[in-house]
Amino acid sequence: MKLLNKTNRIYLAFSLVIYLLTAIAFYQIIRLVIYDEVENRLRVEKRDFQAYVRAHNTWSNIPYFVENKIEITPVNSNSTRQEEFSDTLILNRYDNELSPFRQLTFYQSIQGVVHRVEIRKSLLQTYRLIEVMTLAMMLFLGLLLVGTFWFQNKLSGRLWHPFYDTLSRIKGFDLSSGTSLALEKPEITEFRELNDVLQKMADKMQQDYRSLKEFTENASHEMQTPLALINAKVEQLIQNEQLTEIQTHWVESIYHASRRISRLNQGLLLLAKIENKQFNDSQSIDLSSLLSGKLTDMEEVLTFKKLSVNIQIIASFDVVLPQTLADILVTNLVNNAIKHNQTAGQIELVSTADQLYLSNTGGVLKSSPERLFERFKKESASPDSVGLGLSIIRQIGDSYGLTISYEETNGIHRFCLERVVR
């Protein structure tokens, strides 16, 4: 939920409660005032009535009490003598409707007989007053409510505008693009500070990213150049026909060692680059067809090792990956399946929409399958492997939402690729 919606909602709920409470309180206060007024007048009339009875010791419906809303009934002396106010409805003589009245009941002895006296006053006009006042008040309160709500909405929309602006700019910020994050300088101190901090962080991140990228590039250059030199000199040395057999052997070792360092260096740099997310041209790639294509490319190698290939593509397995990394992933998987296979072995590729399996025959595994994904962990002490192939596969998987698992049962080695469900 958006911040503004949330505050607006809270504000609305709070205002409604206040509004209702105010309305009820207002109504009650008006009612109280009016009742007080009516009751006072009833008391005055009671005094008048008592004065009259004291003076004349009798009672008649003389026109002194114009409203003629007085009713006297003789009662037994043992009934309560409490004076009380109550609401009552009385049939109007003229229009035959029930009208609300306030009534004061008290007991008065007239000529020795206790009478119950009920004096009434119509509440009709005061009721109208309450109604009109309540309605008017509700209307104005309502208008005020809607007005402040609208104003608040506009105001906070305006106040928070820099925040939303910053948010959208950060969302659109791409670390690797090279363009720096440009944030405005809003008037509001908090937002300005926020922007300043974000700006500093983004600049620092970008600088770090750039220097890291430069570092990997420079490291690559600085290491590959001497290696290229060693290789070139060794190649020249090989051309020398006066080399003895033992010298040839040394030269060959140097040559192999330098190739290995070079491959190792490239592998480590590749891992660093994947970790730094320096590949950013992700696109949807059909891995199953890429894999089967790679297997076709390697046909000569397969024929040479007498490996049979079984490809079952039920549905294509699509992933979002940079093209370069997809190629590396597929090459490493296929190379692995070929390298650790046995003569006259098998390679099987099964692909469904959700999973991709690549299995190959081979020796029984001695170490734990999970550990093989670690850097420099290898099953055999073979000199042509630097032990980075599977780490690269894993790193690509981790960085681009793929789970890559590996298991071995009875000499069948199986890689399973699945998309991570987010």
């Binding site: 250059h221 590959q224 030199l229 070139a232 020249q236 190739r259 000569e300 042509d384």
Partner: protein
């Protein structure tokens, strides 16, 4: 045939030059951006081999300047950077090939020759070595005048040998030339062996002399004794 090598690592530049000179090229070197720029303005080269990272500038700028002067000069980039964007940029501004360091001198040589053939004769010239003739643009091989059918890899192998006559070629460089960078393994050396065996057999059948010598522990050499 004039080649300019723009490379700041002196030893490497020397090795490349030496290798090329043996093959009959006229080779010059430039170690800095300024030097290279001066040279391309003063002289005309058939091919420029350029490193991307130079102490005082960028190899891309040299290529751009060169393409403005003479668009027909062949350009091969040699770089330790193997980022895809560098390769794409290089090809976009007019380079013909991209080799990642470290490379085999024999591979560089083969690429230069192939580039020169494409540039100068549109590939229509034939490559001759004794009784062997190769017509690159139709990919046909004639031995003592008879058409010899070779597989794709055997043809590539023969061409690689012919680009590096009298040079000891390592098994690794042959394997990489035939299968690309990712094939440097013990298995690939066995495959190299089997391809060489087949090529040799096919050439001998058509009456060629045996030019392929194996060099113990290292690889092979294509030469006339």
């Amino acid at each position: 045939m004039k080649v300019l090598v723009v490379e700041d690592e002196q030893g490497l530049a020397e090795s490349i030059t030496e290798y090329m000179v043996k093959d009959g090229y006229i080779c010059e070197t430039a170690a800095t951006f300024r030097e290279a720029e001066e040279k391309i303005h003063l002289y005309t080269y058939d091919c420029v081999i350029v490193d991307l990272t130079l102490p005082d500038g960028n190899g891309f700028q040299i290529i751009e300047a060169l393409k403005k002067l003479i668009a027909t000069t062949g350009v091969i980039i040699i770089s330790a950077r193997n980022a895809l964007e560098d390769k794409l940029k290089g090809l976009e501004i007019g380079s013909d090939d991209y080799l990642t360091k470290p490379f085999h001198l024999s591979e560089l040589n083969a690429r230069v020759k192939s580039l020169m053939r494409r540039r100068q004769f549109g590939g229509h010239t034939e490559i001759r070595f004794q009784e062997i003739a190769v017509v690159p643009h139709t990919r046909k091989v004639f031995v003592t005048g008879q058409l010899t059918t070779l597989s794709r890899k055997e043809y590539d192998l023969l061409l690689y040998f012919l680009s590096n006559v009298d040079v000891a070629l390592t098994k690794a460089s042959i394997a990489e030339h035939l299968w690309g960078d990712n094939i440097d393994s013990a298995d690939s050396f066995d495959m190299v062996y089997s391809h060489i065996k087949n090529l040799r057999r096919k050439l001998l059948e058509k009456g060629s002399a045996d030019y392929v010598q194996s060099i113990y522990g290292i690889g092979y050499k294509f030469s006339q004794f």
